[in-house]
Symmetry: C2
Subunit: 316 residues, 2 copies
């Protein structure tokens, strides 16, 4: 790599660390390389962070005294992370606000000059995000002044209301984590093992379950045991059980969210891979058109926006 490494962009989540080495230029096109590891916040003490970065950088790691800037979003900024970065308040300017309120960890080491970005908090009803605000900033960098709804599926899905580039409100749904808990920590684990691959009928079963949950909000909680009993009585092979439960829970999320959000204005879905595709088809069933944007690319765009805002105004 001949071009000089200027700074590091880091999306530091609970279970995963993803970094980009950034060269000259202020945007995502300046990325020289991208790497990922399982050194998430959940397994690190505050003093472990510089070493985890150094290890992942390998032969790209800066030497002692280099103080290479690192812009970090995600759970590394939660209590118990690298440094607690708190939460920004609403309304939040997803353009100019990117990077505001950052903190510098005490345990930065002498190779890095890290800044940790805060999350966002909503007072009433109480809600928080940490990491998604940087994806939103990335989206706004390319769509300044956007008014509408962003949908970010995941462990804790977020639905976010934007008004001319300002985050006005949002709501989290524990859809992904509820699916994991039900399939991992209840009797349902016996009939829908995680290693059961989807089969040809799974897509149809998923969409049928989305439609059923859109139609009947009681169903996703009230019919859970039928997934177990259906398998016991030989009705429902494992892949269909998983597809059905996933459809029920995603359908329930959409059913609740469409009452709470103004879906007459533009909507965008920020996700990736199979989950993004499933949300897109589930939203289509609810007659919600939402183009899909790549969440991983947007987090880097948002980190670049934060870097520009922080280091243009007051270079470290």
């Amino acid at each position: 790599m001949s071009e000089a490494l200027r700074w590091i962009a880091a999306d530091w989540g609970t279970s995963r660390l993803r970094i980009w080495g950034m060269g000259a230029g202020r945007g995502a096109d300046a990325a020289l390389f991208a790497r990922a590891s399982d050194q998430g916040m959940a397994r690190l003490a505050p003093g472990d962070y510089p070493a985890a970065l150094t290890a992942l950088l390998g032969d790209q790691a800066p030497g002692p005294g280099a103080l290479l800037p690192v812009v970090v979003c995600g759970m590394a900024g939660a209590a118990g992370g690298w440094a607690e970065a708190g939460y920004g308040a609403l309304p939040w300017d997803a353009g100019q606000g990117a990077g505001s309120g950052f903190v510098r960890p005490d345990a930065g080491g002498d190779r890095f000059a890290p800044v940790i970005l805060p999350g966002l908090a909503q007072t009433d009803p109480p809600d928080v995000m940490r990491g998604e605000e940087t994806q939103i900033a990335g989206f706004i960098a390319a769509n300044p002044g956007f008014t509408g709804t962003l949908i970010l599926p995941g462990t804790h899905s977020k639905w976010v209301t934007l008004d001319r580039g300002l985050v006005r409100g949002f709501r989290s749904f524990m859809t992904g984590e509820v699916f994991a808990a039900l399939t991992g920590a209840t009797i349902l684990r016996l009939t829908m093992p995680s290693d059961a691959p989807p089969d040809d009928a799974s897509d149809e079963t998923f969409l049928g379950a989305v439609a059923a949950a859109l139609d009947d909000p009681h169903l996703p909680l009230s019919d859970l045991f039928s997934l177990r009993a259906g398998a016991l009585l030989g009705h429902d092979p494992a892949p269909q059980g998983r597809a059905r439960l996933s459809g029920w829970l995603i359908g329930a999320e959409i059913a609740a969210a469409r009452r709470a959000f103004d879906l007459g204005s533009p909507i965008a879905l920020i996700g990736a891979g199979d989950l993004g595709a499933r949300y897109r088809s589930a939203l289509a069933l609810a007659e919600i058109k939402a183009p899909l944007f790549d969440g991983e690319a947007l987090v880097l765009d948002g980190l670049c926006a934060a870097y520009r805002n922080i280091f243009d105004g007051d270079p470290a």
Copy 2:
């Protein structure tokens, strides 16, 4: 104990074994003693059952060759239990049907002559019970010809339709297990630890949550994350969080069930302790009057009914 031990009544669940030593007489009043242990089906291989019984009986255990009758209901009759006892079909006569379809395990040992009672299965929609059918038989022994609905709260709550003593249909709700999975295997565990005792406001919070879930079926899934965010932002101390989640889930169960069951005819609640009391107050909020019967007493009544049906007709 001077009176002779004639047979053993056993409620053998997943995690718990409860037995009664039975003397002369054919009803629950013949119980000479009651004992319980944690030797549930989940930790026993088929060959372990006689020794678990012998250990719990202690100085009351029969000698080799005694072949003491043991009537067993519950998960000991599931696949992987003492012996698989299958399921009875609907409609099921909860009076004359008690004890029908029992199986004798190969691994009975020479001290016991065990009979294992089957569960009940419903084909459409698929549902099963195992153990509750014996509580229902106990209820019917005291209320022959009952027409109405029985509600049996628990890990997998059951709502059961009876027509002149016949079980016509039933539905299971995973309410208790969903509560355990959400508070034990999601981020909610951090803000509502199981050792947080209820406080003065918990009852009011519980009933408020029941009312909210009765009013809005979307709420119990859609608002889960507010329990975490509310605690992060300092709104909701742990006991209220647990009470709120419990109220939401029990409210959702009642909201779904009251659409599916004819609640114009008599209703009885079969439960015990704090859970029975909470269901009773939650049902009252939904204007469902349900006298509370003690589930532990009814299981013994049901085992006695099975014993009478099995050994009067065709003594072992």
